[in-house]
Symmetry: C2
Subunit: 215 residues, 2 copies
């Protein structure tokens, strides 16, 4: 059965590919699994039908054969476990790739998201500049060790994996800041991932939704 | 082979069970897997030998038969996948339990950790009070839907799972705030988990480390 995901009817990122359906679309493209998309408005996201799928009233959700999931990390792990292409076969390498998935979401993303949130929730405060400097340093404290670990490798641990997919998705939230450019190896890592045909297909698909909605 | 984890030689939480080795100890106790602990000082955590295991220089790490992992979520998933007791057998129920693991770490923990960080990193700022009010509301925006989903059930989805273990671990960070008490069902959920013999054994083990180190 073709899985169905949800995405913003009107993405606040204006098609820049930063909403979390992008990660799931990309994973589905990497493994060659067709999918359907149901677009939801902000009002629909907070209505009972959607809250039954996603208790926190967000996107994406994933539905397939009666199974419903709502965390992008869990959705991607579910896809990666059922198709070849996103996790190594070897058990140890597989555990390490999953380790990078959690590192992306629980160690690297939180300070990046905190910085992003400050950008809209605290922009008008007179202490905003002081906060941004603190937040930039917290992001740097994640990027430096990440760059050190990546070194001159293409991917974090052998072949491209769901760990790289999530890490790149998280780093893309720094687009437009100077922080990523402080580590050319990380900027190149993101560019390398964005050159993947599966990424391009997923990006085009989410952009098409935004372009239709903004006509 | 008995796995080895790392933990703080001198935990900054003074044995309150909030350091992330506690989650891993608890998972190991739930499945009945013996383990060894190597204590590391703050200096050792930032030294090359530890950074080779944990690129971000934190605890815990997990080593077993040549495999090394460093994210508590990934470690717990690894343990849960190899032993009975933390994930349901049914594939759908298993995917949903893993979904709650990611929800704990990527949706509920970030605002709780942000609030905790503000408590020590921004305490001396004259805008600290304004920030705390914002952060409390961000935490509330997670707790309300979580309480609504839990309802009057004992656990988030059927039997106790690794999803509950991580969700409770995350909620415990609110100890000493009034936020958890705003949702008696969530406070009872945490208390129910803390009454589990495996939790008690793990808590006692990490407390014993602190008590030895503070003699």
């Amino acid at each position: 059965m073709t899985p169905t995901i949800t995405a913003f009817e009107n993405s606040p990122d204006r098609g820049r590919g930063l909403a979390r359906d992008m990660r799931v679309r990309w994973a589905l493209e990497e493994v060659g699994q067709a999918y359907e998309v149901r677009l939801v408005s902000f009002a629909e996201m907070k209505a009972p039908a959607h809250l039954a799928l996603h208790p926190f009233g967000q996107i994406p959700t994933y539905e397939e054969d009666g199974l419903a999931l709502f965390e992008s990390g869990a959705i991607i792990l579910h896809i990666a476990a059922r198709h070849a292409g996103l996790l190594p076969e070897d058990a140890g390498a597989r555990a390490r790739a999953i380790n990078w998935m959690f590192a992306a979401l629980n160690t690297v993303e939180p300070p990046i998201l905190e910085r992003e949130t400050a950008g809209y929730a605290e922009r008008d405060k007179d202490w905003h500049g002081e906060r941004v400097a603190m937040l930039d340093d917290r992001v740097r404290a994640r990027l430096s060790p990440l760059a050190a670990r990546l070194g001159d490798a293409d991917w974090l641990d052998g072949a491209f994996s769901a760990g790289d997919l999530l890490m790149v998705s998280v780093l893309q939230r720094l687009q437009g800041s100077a922080l990523l450019a402080e580590h050319p190896a990380l900027a190149a890592y993101v560019a390398r991932a964005e050159a993947r045909p599966a990424f391009k297909r997923a990006f085009a698909a989410q952009l098409a939704v935004f372009e239709r909605s903004s006509r």
